[in-house]
Amino acid sequence: MNRIRRIGLAVAAGALALPALAHHSTAMFDFTKTVEYDATVKEFLWTNPHTWTTVTVTGKNAGEYGLEGMSPNYLARNGWTKRTLKPGDKVTVQVHPLKDGRKGGFMVSAKLADGTLLYNLPHRDTPAAAAAAAQGR
């Protein structure tokens, strides 16, 4: 099942500024739109300047999607490892889609089969933000 919705209050409230995208602008992606896909991981590349996840989606928007993510440098400091996503994993990914309509976009978050929700973009619930909040920063 694929669900498309305009950016909701929950996402807007949780999302933080995007300095970590300094490598490039957000111009290719539609940051006003968040698309959710139930998908299967085909490949997860733990590389710079961005991680890259290829997922397979079945059903209405069937196809292979290329998802850019934050760098290992950022993600490793926020709870991810190179083994977080593995080929064959069932995931629900939230994506800011490409503006040009091709199958791809920027990964916002990934929900694993066991229910673990991992944020890719800076979010108030990431470990770094939680630690900062705990110390009253």
Partner: protein
């Protein structure tokens, strides 16, 4: 006779001791001595160990960045830059093609920096783009006609616990902000101080009479991170791009 014997034994003993211990003083290399003194002096400098990351959430409450006061010529170029953005140009710069931003942009990346002290220089490592800056601390002047480089030519001095760095000689493609270039008169002054155990503060002044009607000063806080720098090779798997007009692209395959 007895007395002479005692003296001889004592002499012998001291000779033997000499042979067993360090070489005689005359063998100390003055260059080694000077180096030892110079490196030991570094221990007295402010401790900026570990790595430092920009306080993006501004939880320390640094003052907001002031408005840049541009010359009419610089303002006209910025207006043209913004007008082109409405046509889909200038949305992305060469950093998307993995060309490092140079100064001052390299100092405000989303990845930490690290300081290395040497007797005659301080090296600033930047995790982003795996770059480094060299700040000469030996009193040398800037070259009269410096080669123009991404990071320029930097000299520094300590004013108490504040490191003051002055840099000149920047490559033409460096940007002070999106749509704001610089002239060959650009001088960047950074005042860096550890204001609290957790905080390093960098006050940056951009001085370029062809761009600003008055020097522009901003303050950035960096948080101490108990971490190490990671590798960052931008061309490892870069799928983003910008053409010469700043139109963005992304490679899916």
């Amino acid at each position: 006779m007895m007395k002479r014997m005692t003296v001889a034994v004592a002499l012998l003993a001291s000779l033997t001791a000499c042979q067993k211990s360090a070489p005689p003083a005359a063998a100390v290399d003055p260059a080694v001595e000077a180096r030892t003194t110079a490196w030991a002096a570094l221990a007295k400098l402010p401790d900026w160990g570990g790595v430092w990351e920009i306080d993006w959430r501004n939880s320390r409450g640094s003052p907001p960045r002031p408005q840049m006061k541009l010359t009419p010529e610089a303002q006209a170029r910025l207006d043209a830059f913004r007008a082109a953005q409405k046509k889909g140009e200038n949305l992305q710069g060469d950093v998307a093609n993995c060309v490092p931003p140079g100064m001052p942009g390299i100092m405000s990346q989303p990845y930490p920096i690290q300081f290395l002290y040497q007797p005659d220089r301080i090296v600033i490592l930047t995790e982003a783009y795996m770059m480094y800056r060299v700040v000469f601390m030996d009193g040398r002047p800037h070259p009269e006609d410096p080669d123009l480089t991404f990071h320029g030519h930097s000299t520094g001095k300590w004013e108490g616990d504040t490191l003051v760095i002055e840099s000149v000689g920047f490559a033409a493609q460096n940007r002070l902000a999106p749509g704001i270039g610089h002239s060959d008169k650009l001088k960047i002054t950074e005042r860096i101080r550890r204001v609290a155990p957790e905080w390093l503060e960098i006050q940056t002044t951009l001085d370029d009479p062809e761009i600003f009607t008055e020097p522009y000063t901003s303050t950035t806080s960096y948080r101490h991170l108990d971490d190490e720098l990671r590798e960052y090779v931008c061309l490892e798997n870069n799928r983003d791009g910008a053409d010469s007009n700043g139109r963005p692209s992304m490679r899916l395959e």
